[in-house]
């Protein structure tokens, strides 16, 4: 069972989230039409692990970019005026571009991995959360917790409360 509370005011929404956390509700989602730093703080979201993906991508890109340039030079040897077959300065440019390309692609991968998206199966959601409403969702609430969660949400000033059976 999930309990959803929709708020018109950001301050009420944040108060509800803080009170729920303080009362021991750990599985809460905070839906908003724009990013709210305060809401992220309530959930204790610090530095994102996405940055490890970016770093890994950049390193893999650098190594593979240089290796690709060297490998193509070795499989198709093109001597030009006695110049080096493996020429470091131009290959650094290929390395640079591949560092960025793989860094971007791995950051994208990291976003999907960390955020859990795509998630097309039904989850508790109110479409007004993409317009102007702030929604607190208490997920996987046990039967004895429902009344308490609902009371906290109502006391904070929710204008609408819904109970939703979750899709597991």
């Amino acid at each position: 069972m999930a309990i959803m509370g929709a708020f018109a005011y950001e301050e009420d929404f944040l108060a509800a989230a803080k009170n729920l956390k303080a009362s021991g509700f750990d599985e809460i989602s905070l839906l908003s039409p724009l990013p709210l730093e305060e809401a992220q703080k309530v959930l204790g979201l610090g530095k994102s692990p996405v940055r490890y993906f970016s770093l890994a991508g950049a390193i893999i890109g650098a190594i593979s970019g240089f290796a690709m340039a060297v490998a193509t030079a070795l499989v198709f040897i093109l001597p030009t005026g006695g110049r080096a077959i493996i020429a470091i300065p131009p290959y650094l440019i290929i390395t640079y571009e591949m560092t960025i390309l793989m860094g971007v692609l791995f950051t994208l991968l990291g976003f999907h991995f960390v955020s859990g998206l795509p998630a097309w199966h039904d989850k508790p959601y109110l479409s007004s959360a993409s317009i102007d409403r702030f929604v607190v969702v208490v997920e996987n609430a046990a039967a004895e917790q429902v009344a308490r969660a609902e009371a906290i949400i109502r006391d904070a000033g929710a204008e609408e409360i819904r109970h939703v059976e979750e899709d597991r």
């Binding site: 005011y9 950001e10 301050e11 009420d12 989602s29 905070l30 839906l31 908003s32 039409p33 724009l34 990013p35 709210l36 809401a39 992220q40 309530v42 979201l45 530095k47 994102s48 996405v50 940055r51 970016s54 690709m68 193509t72 030079a73 499989v75 198709f76 093109l78 030009t80 110049r83 020429a87 131009p90 290959y91 440019i93 290929i94 640079y96 571009e97 591949m98 960025i100 390309l101 860094g103 971007v104 692609l105 950051t107 994208l108 990291g110 976003f111 999907h112 960390v114 955020s115 859990g116 998206l117 795509p118 998630a119 097309w120 989850k123 959601y125 959360a129 993409s130 317009i131 102007d132």
Partner: protein, 441 residues
């Protein structure tokens, strides 16, 4: 920030999504016109050229590069401000970025696509384009990564990929808003596009981090792309092209023409999509100040380029310089100086900087000047290299002129399609600039 009063969150959704969801006959007429011009002026001459060969263009033995290459540089340059400016302003947390960045990034993407079309047209035998990628081919050829042209392939592919991801990821929350505002097939499509976005704090947090990393990657990438395009020329030994100043010259010129392009696009969005409420005086003023700064840097680099050619003192460089300043294409050179160095000085006057119509005129003149600049770089260098027996002359054929006109129609077509598929202004970032609604207000 808002010239006509602050909108509510719901009004932001309604105003911006109505552009996508409501389509009148004027839109279809405009789209039909741009598609027809693209077909007649770009694709038909190109098909003709594919049948008869690249000899249909005005390029010849001494001028093997022509307007296709200059147009390629122009469109790559125009692509520069969108993503680069958006990324820089994101990192520096500038609030005036939020209303204009989505369309500016789209400009980047479509300029890049148009530029890529010119590579295909220039190639002649376009069906061999895969030879430039490090993949096995029937000739057993592998690309030579010592060549600046191969740097280009890598840089532009990376830039196109990174710019596409940058604009797409920034749009995901807005795709969710489109999903919620629509029904039927559109709803199903945008459910897929939005990845099932709900707007949870965790999703916003992850997107914020990822987006910042995209921005951090994109800034050096954008600088590298036009530096690499400049090395297509500067790494040769052709007089007039072999300058160490070329990389910053091209990067500066690219951001300059891109910023002027943003002013033109913003004018059109504001005027024809009724977005006066969101794209206001603060945006015009900031873009104007940026334009004047870039104009001064561009002028300085141009003076340096002339000085280094003269100071070098070799007869080859001096001849290339003389031909550029006083030869057949000299009127175009001085037109470029007038439009890109002197006309933008008018922006120093607040009265002009605050007028949309005057800024539109200046932005168009700047881009005419920048298109000319790229043409001059190509048309006055190769036909004038070293000894007189290598001298030649280049003038674009009607095929090239037609394809140049058609490229603007391709860009306009892509942009018109874009505004019906992606919110032209970021909903959530505009909401971030609004004062939050409180009980006591």
């Amino acid at each position: 920030m808002f010239d006509h009063g602050q909108p509510s969150y719901a009004e932001v959704n309604k105003d911006i999504l109505s552009i996508m969801l409501e389509t009148g006959p004027k839109y279809w007429m405009l789209l039909g016109t741009t598609m027809s011009v693209a077909g007649i002026c770009f694709f038909m001459p190109w098909i003709y050229q594919l049948f008869v060969g690249v000899g249909a263009a005005g390029m010849n033995r001494n001028a093997v590069w022509g307007s296709y290459l200059s147009n390629f540089i122009f469109w790559i340059g125009l692509s520069h401000s969108g993503t680069l400016l958006s990324a820089v302003l994101h990192i520096t947390n500038s609030p005036w970025r939020k209303a204009i960045y989505r369309s500016a990034e789209a400009m980047t993407l479509f300029s890049l696509m148009t530029a890529a079309m010119f590579v295909m047209v220039h190639l002649g035998r376009v069906w061999f384009v895969h030879w430039s990628f490090p993949i096995p081919n029937q000739m057993g050829l592998w690309p030579n990564f010592r060549s600046p042209l191969m740097f280009d392939v890598m840089a532009i592919t990376t830039y196109l990929t990174a710019s596409s991801i940058f604009i797409y990821m920034g749009s995901v929350p807005d795709f969710a808003a489109v999903r919620d505002a629509s029904t039927g097939l559109r709803r199903r499509l945008y459910t897929i596009f939005s990845f099932g976005w709900r707007g949870t704090a965790k999703e916003w947090h992850t997107l914020g981090w990822a987006y910042t990393f995209f921005a951090v990657f994109v800034i050096p990438l954008a600088v590298s792309v036009h530096s690499i395009v400049s090395w297509d020329f500067a790494l040769s030994i052709v007089p007039g092209l072999h300058h160490t100043i070329f990389a910053p010259y091209f990067v500066c010129g690219a951001i300059y023409s891109g910023t002027a392009g943003i002013v033109t696009v913003m004018y059109c969005l504001r005027k024809f999509l009724n977005l006066e409420r969101y794209i206001g005086q603060v945006h015009l003023d900031s873009l104007g100040k940026l334009l004047i700064t870039l104009s001064l840097i561009w002028s300085y680099i141009n003076i340096l380029e002339l000085f280094s050619s003269w100071y070098g003192g070799t007869s080859f460089e001096l001849e290339a310089l003389r031909f550029r300043l006083t030869g057949f294409y000299a009127p175009l050179y001085w037109e470029m100086i007038l439009f890109c160095a002197f006309v933008p000085l008018l922006i120093l006057f607040k009265k002009i900087r605050w007028s949309w119509n005057k800024m539109l005129a200046i932005s168009i003149l700047i881009n005419i000047g920048m298109l000319t600049e790229r043409f001059i770089i190509v048309a006055t260098s190769q036909p004038r290299k070293f000894l007189p027996d290598a001298f030649g002359f280049y003038f674009p054929s009607w095929i090239e002129i037609s394809i140049t006109i058609g490229s603007f129609a391709i860009f306009a077509t892509l942009f018109l399609i874009f505004i019906k598929w992606v919110p032209a202004i970021s909903l959530y970032e505009v909401k971030e600039t609004l004062r939050p609604l409180r009980r006591d207000t």
